[in-house]
Amino acid sequence: MGVRVCLPVYLECNLKQRMKLNLFEDKNCKEEHVDVYFTNMRPVIRQIMDSVNSERPSFSGRPADEDLDDFEETILDPDDIYYLDFVDRKLFAYTKTGVFRLMNTLASCEEMLWNYGFVRVSKSNLINIYKIKQLRPDLNMKVYASFDNGERICINRSYKKTFNEYLKVMMRQTV
C-alpha cells in the first residue's frame, strides 16, 4: 500500500485569485499524472496545462545595456515581463529587475504569450495586461497603459479594436 500524502497548497497564478492545489505522494504510482478540475477553460488553466506539458514559454534574455557576449543569459518567465518593445530590429523585455534583450521575434512572442495576458498595442509593443497599473488618456488624447515600474506604453488607435476584443475574451474566460 502506497503512502498517500495530501498537501493542500494554494497555487498563486498571475491572477490574484487563488486555486487550491492538492499534492499526493504515492510511492507505487506507475504513471505520474495531474488532474485539473476547472469550471471553464480560462487562461490560467491553459497556463497550468502548458506547465504540465513542459510547454510553458520562458525566454532567455541578456541585459540590454551590456555587451551581449559578456553576460550570462537570464531565464525570464512571462509573469515577470511588463512589456516587450521592438526597437531597431531588436526585441527587449522590460521587467522589474531590468531590461533584457530577447532573440525571439515580436510575432512569435505574441502567439506564445496569448494565454499569459499579452496583447499587441502597437507595431512594436506587446503588453502584459496583468501588470498594468492604470489605463488613461493623456491630454493629447493618446491612451497610455502605466506599469508598476513607472513606464508608460501608448495604445495605438489602429490596435484599439484588437485590444478591446482581447479584453473581452479574457474577461469572458476569467470567471
Binding site: 490574484k16 485569485q17 489605463l135
Partner: protein
Amino acid sequence: MKKYLKTLLMYVCISYTMVSVSGAVVNIITGTKTSNSNTLIMFGLCVIASFVLSLNKIFDEFSPLLMIVLQYAVVMALCAGFLFLLSLIDPISPKGWIEYFRSITVPYIVIAGIYYYCLYDEAKKQDRIIKDIQNGKK
C-alpha cells in the same frame, strides 16, 4: 476602394442628415429661411468634411489632438477653396464668410469634445475590465 467609397457615402449621408435637420430646427426657432444654393453648399461642405475625416488612418501616427487640429485645418482650407470658387459665380458677403467659419468650427469643437469624452469613458471602462481580469472575477 469599393468599401471605402461605401463608408464615405455613409458618412456623407449621416453628416448631411444631421446638419440639415439641425439647420431646419434652428430655422424654425429663429424664423429664418434658407435658399436652395445654401442647401447645396451645405451638402458640398459635408462631402469635404466627411472626406477629410475618413482619411484618419493617414494621421494614425499623430496624437488624436494633433489629428483633430490638422483635420480641422485641412477641412477649413478645402471648404474655403470651395466657397471661393462658388463666390466667383455668386459673390459671398463678409458676413457670409464669418457664417461659414462659425458653421464649421462650432460642430467641429462639439464633435471633438464628444470624441474626447468617449475616449475617456472607454479608457475608464477598459481600466475597470483590466482590474477585474487581474482580480480574476467578472
